[in-house]
């Protein structure tokens, strides 16, 4: 019987979580994200059952010169079917169509970035026939973009500022991973979905419902904090109680990540959404021109990070958190309520990560996969800085953020994440404990 009693909470939790997620989703849907059938799925997901007869895809890459164009839309029509595909950061778009047959693909020129136009503006529609093949690529050549030649130093400086912005918002998420890892030794693979959650919820309240900016941020952060509470109270604490091992718990977070990601996809669809912050005007600092939103983003990140630093070093709870990270059993023995600290850490991590999701949504765009796409960068940042060290996570994030942005000066855009991950591996080779990590001891 005790077995049963102990089992029930976790089962209930997973069911409850599904319930919460689905009900939030239904809420989103019912308020009017539009009919769900009009969704697309630009990022090709692995299709486990795709024996080569049952999926049909029309897709392609849209570039200007060698640069992939993001956010360009292509409408696919035919066989009583209509769907709009949008290019991702790599310039790729794809639309899954229900069956073989004739379709037309139309480039929507309005969605091209400024300065880029179709090479032949009168021919933006192509006829596509899906017969013997299940995938057809459609090309839409674009005209030369007027490239303003700037000197290399200015370009690097601009990229540096972008990288700083990206690094700072990564740090918000990475510190969350680091705090959770520090106090519980858990690698949380669902952390990317916490980023997505922040971005998507903010998109819903701020852009779809048109709530005032501050109110939308506040609501997003409160809901994010709640997901942190929920993950610990309903999932990880019961797992710890059961004595579930760390590897098991890590795989549970992988399951949660898959579950949440596809729930988001289910309700949001595959669209890439742009956040409306009302802060689109730009400012220039010397050769660097950035949007006001980016400046605000950097200031917010820096202030939040400073607050986290003060919290960890100056407050009682912060000190207790570090004590738990150092040695949980020792901390418990000296009267610290470890479970309470872990709860606080989860809530704090989820809030910071939700904020990073908002900022990432502003920095790039919002889609169902956004968090998962940067999850590895977050892990890389944390590992680079030294697992479990909050300050190390900050340093690691800045390195990763700046490397990804500045490297695009020399290498193709679509390899910038690969460079960041490569740096992680090289650092592990020469300094295994990370930039700021401590060496391990045995026994």
């Amino acid at each position: 019987m005790p077995q049963l009693v102990r089992r029930r909470p976790i089962l209930a939790v997973i069911v409850a979580m599904l319930g919460v997620i689905v009900s939030v989703g239904v809420l989103v849907l019912s308020v009017g994200l539009g009919p769900a059938s009009a969704t697309t799925e630009p990022a090709p997901t692995p299709t486990p059952t795709s024996d080569f007869t049952n999926t049909f895809t029309i897709g392609g890459i849209i570039r200007s010169g060698d640069d992939p164009l993001e956010g360009v839309e292509v409408e696919v029509e035919g066989q009583g079917f209509s769907e709009v595909g949008t290019t991702g950061a790599d310039g790729r778009w794809a639309v899954s169509v229900p069956s073989a047959g004739d379709y037309t693909a139309t480039l929507l020129p309005d969605t091209l970035p400024e300065g880029v136009s179709p090479r032949d503006p009168d021919k933006v529609t192509r006829d596509v026939t899906l017969g013997t093949t299940n995938t057809v690529n459609v090309l839409f050549p674009t005209g030369e973009r007027e490239i303003v030649r700037t000197n290399i130093a200015d370009t690097i400086l601009t990229r540096l500022v972008y990288g700083l912005n990206f690094g700072l918002l990564l740090a918000l998420g990475a510190i969350g991973i680091s705090l959770i890892y520090g106090t519980t030794k858990l690698n949380n693979f669902a952390h990317g979905e916490m980023v997505t959650f922040g971005g998507v919820v903010f998109f819903f309240f701020g852009t779809v419902l048109n709530m005032p900016l501050i109110a939308a941020i506040a609501v997003t952060l409160v809901l994010s904090a709640f997901t942190g509470y929920a993950q610990d109270a309903w999932l990880h604490k019961p797992l710890r109680r059961r004595g579930v091992g760390l590897v098991q718990a890590m795989i549970v977070t992988i399951g949660l990540s898959i579950l949440v990601r596809y729930v988001v996809l289910f309700f949001l669809g595959g669209n890439i959404e742009t956040l409306d912050t009302g802060l689109t005007e730009t400012v220039s600092f010397g050769p660097v021109t950035i949007t006001v939103a980016s400046v605000v983003s950097m200031i917010v990140s820096a202030v939040m990070l400073a607050l986290v630093g003060l919290f960890l070093t100056r407050t009682r709870i912060g000190k207790a958190t570090r004590a738990v990270s150092d040695n949980a059993s020792l901390a418990a023995a000296s009267g610290i309520n470890v479970d309470r600290i872990i709860r606080i850490v989860w809530i704090m991590a989820a809030t910071l990560t939700g904020l990073s999701g908002i900022l990432y949504g502003i920095f790039r765009q919002v889609n169902w996969n956004m968090g998962f796409q940067i999850l590895l960068l977050l892990f890389a940042a944390v590992t680079l800085g030294g697992l479990g060290s909050a300050f190390g996570a900050l340093v690691g994030s800045l390195i990763i953020g700046i490397v990804t942005e500045v490297s695009t000066v020399w290498i193709p855009n679509d390899l910038r994440y690969a460079v960041a991950l490569l740096i992680l591996i090289v650092v592990l080779l020469v300094r295994p404990q990370g930039v700021l990590g401590r060496k391990e001891r045995v026994g």
Binding site: I10, P44, F379, I425
Partner: protein, 326 residues
């Protein structure tokens, strides 16, 4: 709603080459994780390395079939060394992060536009199967029965794929009953203890990493033989699915990975067929067929969570020999 067709499709999936590829990849992770305790989250990377090495050797270098296979194996050995050298001396979770990162690097590199000439970029490559079809020993005709009715070429790829699965299983059986397997399992339990007994733990971990990686790379080849190679297939999600299959069947068991892959592939096809059937018959009206596909992935996520918590030894695992450290 054609139940016969739905069941037929699901049954056919049981022996499809994709399922054979999944089973091979899962046997690879079984060697890594189930026996040696290595957290390889980059099996999709090994599969991509194998598939691309095979295809590029065939198309760009005009290599004969045997040489293309050799290229796939060698490439995965090199990849395993690249992963293992920086990480096998570190704590287990470092390997997890480095393998997952490396698999993504592979995916970024094969899909980058700069290398389109060799890799086909985001669209991938096709038209490399002629040599394989050319050595098909089966005369033209129809083979099998019911859902398992195949043309000569379909039969050939299945015999080849499942033949590799059988070979891999025999290899794993022979190794794991030997003293080598004992050392490797000891490392899974506690590598310091094994080190204190005079075993070169690093070398054993490297051997296990290479072995499982080669199986992953062969899985990659089987995966692409009947179709084209596309970089989008080799995302992190593929790795997670293979883990789900492995845990479904039981991580440290001989047949667990195979059974897990079969169950996974069949149930996925079955649920897809049923959902699509219900939608086209207007029984379910509030979701689209695209969304039906997404529901299946939600189920995979939930199953993975429940499985790991409630039945960590998998369906066929021994309750005592749990697949996780206690």
């Amino acid at each position: 709603m054609d139940w016969g067709q739905i069941l037929n499709n699901a049954a056919g999936e049981l022996l499809s080459p994709v399922t054979a590829a999944y089973a091979l990849a899962a046997i690879g992770i079984s060697v890594h994780f189930g026996y040696a305790g290595l957290l390889n989250f980059g099996q999709a990377g090994f599969m991509a390395v194998g598939a691309y090495a095979f295809v590029i050797a065939t198309l760009s270098l005009n290599a004969p079939l045997w040489a293309a296979f050799l290229a796939a194996i060698l490439a995965s050995v090199v990849f395993a060394f690249l992963l293992g050298i920086p990480t096998l001396r570190l704590r287990a979770d470092y390997l997890a992060i480095v393998t997952i990162a490396s698999a993504e690097i592979v995916r970024y590199v094969v899909s980058t536009t700069g290398l389109t000439e060799y890799t086909g970029g985001a669209a991938g490559l096709s038209g490399f199967n002629d040599a394989f079809v050319g050595i098909n020993p089966f005369p033209t005709g129809s083979y099998g029965f019911g859902p398992w009715t195949y043309t000569a070429n379909q039969l050939w790829i299945r015999v080849f794929g499942w033949g590799l699965v059988v070979l891999a299983t025999v290899l794993v059986y022979l190794l794991m009953r030997s003293p080598w397997g004992r050392v490797v399992k000891g490392i899974r339990e506690d590598e310091d203890a094994v080190r204190s007994l005079g075993k070169n733990v690093y070398a054993y971990k490297m051997q296990a990493l290479v072995l499982g990686g080669v199986l992953g790379s062969l899985a990659g080849v089987v995966f692409v033989l009947p179709r084209a190679v596309q970089p989008g297939n080799y995302g992190t999600t593929l790795t997670f699915f293979i883990w789900t299959m492995l845990l479904l069947g039981g991580a440290a068991t001989l047949f667990g990975p195979i059974i897990g892959a079969m169950i996974f592939a069949t149930l996925l096809t079955l649920s897809d067929g049923i959902l699509r059937g219900l939608i086209s018959a207007d029984i379910i009206t509030f979701i689209s067929t695209t969304q039906a596909g997404q529901i299946r992935f939600m189920i995979i996520g939930a199953v993975l969570m429940l499985l790991v918590v409630f039945r960590p030894q998998g369906i066929f695992g021994n309750k005592k020999e749990l697949s996780f450290n206690v």
